[in-house]
């Protein structure tokens, strides 16, 4: 059985396609995660795939000036360390005194630089600059060097965006919007779907047709009328309740449509059997329909959650842009504008934004597994 499946060419194509899709999806996600954990200076100079290797960096530094010179044995000496305060992990691999030859000298070499001056720069960044005469410049001398920087991973970026850039607050706001805006439509739609699938209601066909019709209505069309109603009501405008109801309304047609087709496909015998067993409609719904519809409920939960989580338009219109009610998408958008060059902020913010949808997907995906109906009817 297994061999036969493996040999089928269509299976191979399918697996290849799945592999490509997974790669296309996983690689950037991994890149985002790695980048967001790197040191902000390293993000700027090398790609995330080099994150584990030591990177070469070309930079320059300036020695101390005449104020720090010390006279010893008839020579004037300025000594110091270029890497002072840099954490001590960096090491110098070559250095030079001319801008386009930063790798002229090996670390530790002592070089004559004219006028009786010598310069020694060591791998740890310490240097000794000697002069037969007293130094006269206030400013030190510029040195160009190549340093190797070991990989450095940090959660600083996350601490920064969560607590200083408003992402933490926006994250909580997004959850506050999304969780009820997912649960409320599921509750309503499941009831409606059962009624429209199995109960004998006059005008059932018409109601279903209206719902299917509503599927194609663009939500932008209803923004202004809804806003007017909200503003007139007073208690709905710019509140969480308002946006929950808005998302519920926008999500319901699809939810009812999806759940109804699933619930209508449940075996008729099961429902009739429950009727004969004396269960009323509510009991049938609660004990038979709901448990068996879990795959459909989970699918819709994922759809709705992702849609609400990623939504910017509805949130801006119904919740506004006051800083205490701003959602993640909005905050991310404004960071893009104000901190567009700070990759460490953007990657960390982006990863915080996608982590919740990822968790939701992975926790619910097992309900997509088929076979929940196995054993109920013949051949199962």
């Amino acid at each position: 059985m297994l061999d036969r499946i493996r040999l089928e060419p269509s299976r191979f194509v399918l697996h290849l396609a799945v592999f490509i899709i997974v790669a296309l999806w996983t690689l950037p996600t991994a890149g985002l995660l790695v980048s967001s954990l790197r040191d902000k200076d390293q993000i700027a100079v090398s790609g995330w795939w080099t994150a584990l290797s030591t990177s070469e960096q070309r930079s320059q530094a300036r020695t101390k000036g005449k104020a720090d010179q010390v006279e010893t044995d008839g020579k004037f000496v300025i000594a110091g360390n270029f890497f002072e305060g840099a954490g001590g992990h960096t090491s110098l691999s070559a250095w030079g005194t001319i801008v386009n030859k930063p790798d002229a000298n090996a670390p530790g070499a002592t070089v004559e630089i004219g006028e009786g001056q010598t310069l020694t720069v060591n791998a740890d960044g310490s240097y000794v600059w000697t002069n037969a005469n007293a130094f006269e410049d206030d400013r030190g001398r510029r040195i160009f060097y190549v340093s190797s920087v070991p990989p450095r991973f940090t959660t600083e970026n996350y601490e920064n965006v969560l607590f200083s850039q408003g992402i933490g607050r926006a994250f909580v706001n997004s959850l506050t919007v999304t969780i009820p805006a997912t649960i409320i439509p599921i509750l309503i739609a499941a009831f409606a779907a059962y009624a429209l699938a199995w109960m004998k209601i006059p005008g059932r066909g018409f109601i279903i047709a209206v719902i299917v019709g509503l599927l194609v209505v663009p939500l932008q069309m209803s923004l202004i009328p809804l806003l007017k109603i909200y503003n007139a009501s007073g208690f709905l405008s710019k509140t969480y309740l308002g946006i929950w109801l808005a998302h519920t309304g926008f999500g319901l047609p699809f939810a009812i449509y999806l759940l109804r087709s699933y619930i209508a496909g449940l075996p008729k015998d099961l429902i009739e059997s429950a009727q004969v067993d004396g269960a009323n409609d509510f009991k049938i719904f609660r004990r038979i329909i709901l448990p068996l519809s879990f795959p459909a409920l989970a699918s819709f939960a994922i759809f709705q959650f992702l849609w609400v989580w990623n939504d910017l338009l509805v949130a801006m219109v119904f919740l506004g842009s006051e800083s205490d009610k701003v959602v993640l998408t909005f905050q991310l958008n404004s960071l893009l504008g104000s901190r567009g060059g700070n990759w460490e902020i953007l990657t960390a913010s982006a990863f915080i934004t996608i982590i919740v949808p990822l968790l939701v997907f992975f926790s619910l995906q097992r309900y997509f597994v088929r076979g929940l109906l196995a054993g109920s009817v013949k051949g199962g």
């Binding site: 059997s273 269960a279 054993g375």
Partner: protein, 333 residues
């Protein structure tokens, strides 16, 4: 006690008339089998009695009370579905106890009743399993258990054996017969298209065709005096030979019905002559398929046969064992 009475029962879906003036009296404790070809309305009739289909016109009484508009759960009936309709997400215990749970019985009482039924059906070791972990026969028993546990007065079976393989079917048939013997006061109505099930299980058989009751009677009544050519052809295996033309005219009938076992065969002379087309020798008996000028005739001989295909054969119906039918297909006295 549960007498069921159907009076002029009609069922139509729009313009499609499924059941036509069905009249039936079922006394308490009877085992009734509805039999007929597919699409004859036997399942619809069962579902109407159950209450899953509403009645277009006519009266349905259970225990002298009109129940036309009473919901299924209030009719004192239990139904075993063709597909068993076990709740896939509930254990065997929950499946059996679901009806009791709906009646709002206390947990202890539910447990006691379910365990008693499980014991009776040898389901005790499987009470915690889900239906998908059961074999076909075990699922079947759970479905029956659900019916028993409610203490229903009427059991309805909708082709309950059609999903089982041949060996299991014979065994389950015997179990159902045993079940009935153990519950003499329970009325059982059983739908099947398999006449062997009908003949072996039924106290009385109701033969349906195209929504009409063709005949109601004990299996032997149906076998020995079918009311019309349809019942004559439907009951008995192989089918009764229905011969028209000269041999029928000789008996002053439009159609002469002779069962395959009611022929005397001869190599020399007989009322009907033909050629053996094909033989089936089963050991205990042999079947000869004979082409005659009046159509193909099946003959049963006990033991082995002396004929081989191609032989000329002469057959005479055994006196008193023939059935005479008029032009309208009805039995002639």
């Amino acid at each position: 006690m549960a007498d069921i009475k159907l009076t002029n029962l009609n069922k139509a879906y729009g313009a499609v008339h499924i059941l036509k003036d069905v009249n039936l009296d079922i006394t308490s404790g009877e085992f009734i089998v509805f039999v007929g070809p597919s699409g004859c309305g036997k399942s619809t009739l069962l579902r109407t009695i159950c209450g899953l289909e509403n009645i277009t016109s006519g009266v349905l009484e259970i225990d002298n009370a009109v129940v036309n508009d009473v919901p299924p759960s209030k009719r004192g009936i239990a139904m075993v579905f063709q597909s068993y309709a076990l709740y896939p997400h509930m254990s065997v215990y929950e499946n059996i106890g679901f009806a009791l749970e709906n009646q709002g019985l206390p947990r202890a009482e539910i447990r006691q009743k379910v365990e008693k039924v499980a014991d009776m059906l040898q389901l005790t070791p499987y009470l915690t399993r889900l239906p998908k972990a059961l074999s076909g026969g075990q699922r079947q028993r759970v479905a029956i258990g659900r019916a028993i546990v409610r203490g229903a007065k009427v059991f309805l079976f909708d082709e309950p054996l059609s999903n089982l393989d041949a060996a299991l079917r014979v065994q389950t048939r015997m179990e159902i017969a045993k079940l009935k013997r153990g519950m003499p006061n329970t009325t059982m109505i059983y739908v099947t298209h398999d006449q062997v099930e009908a003949m072996t299980l039924a106290d009385r058989i109701v033969v349906l065709q195209a929504g009409r009751v063709e005949q109601v009677g004990t299996p032997m009544e149906l076998y020995e005096s079918p009311a019309n050519t349809f019942v004559a052809g439907f009951i008995g295996s192989p089918k009764m030979n229905l011969i028209t033309g000269a041999p029928a005219a000789a008996h002053k009938a439009h159609t002469l019905g002779v069962r395959p076992e009611h022929f005397e065969v001869s190599k020399t002379a007989g009322a009907i002559s033909g050629t053996v087309e094909y033989t089936e020798v089963l050991g205990s008996d042999s079947f000869l398929y004979v082409t005659t000028p009046h159509g193909l005739i099946t003959v049963r001989e006990e033991g082995r046969t002396g004929f081989v295909p191609g032989d000329a054969i002469h057959m005479s119906p055994v006196a008193q064992m023939t059935h005479r039918f008029g032009e309208d297909g009805k039995r002639l006295p």
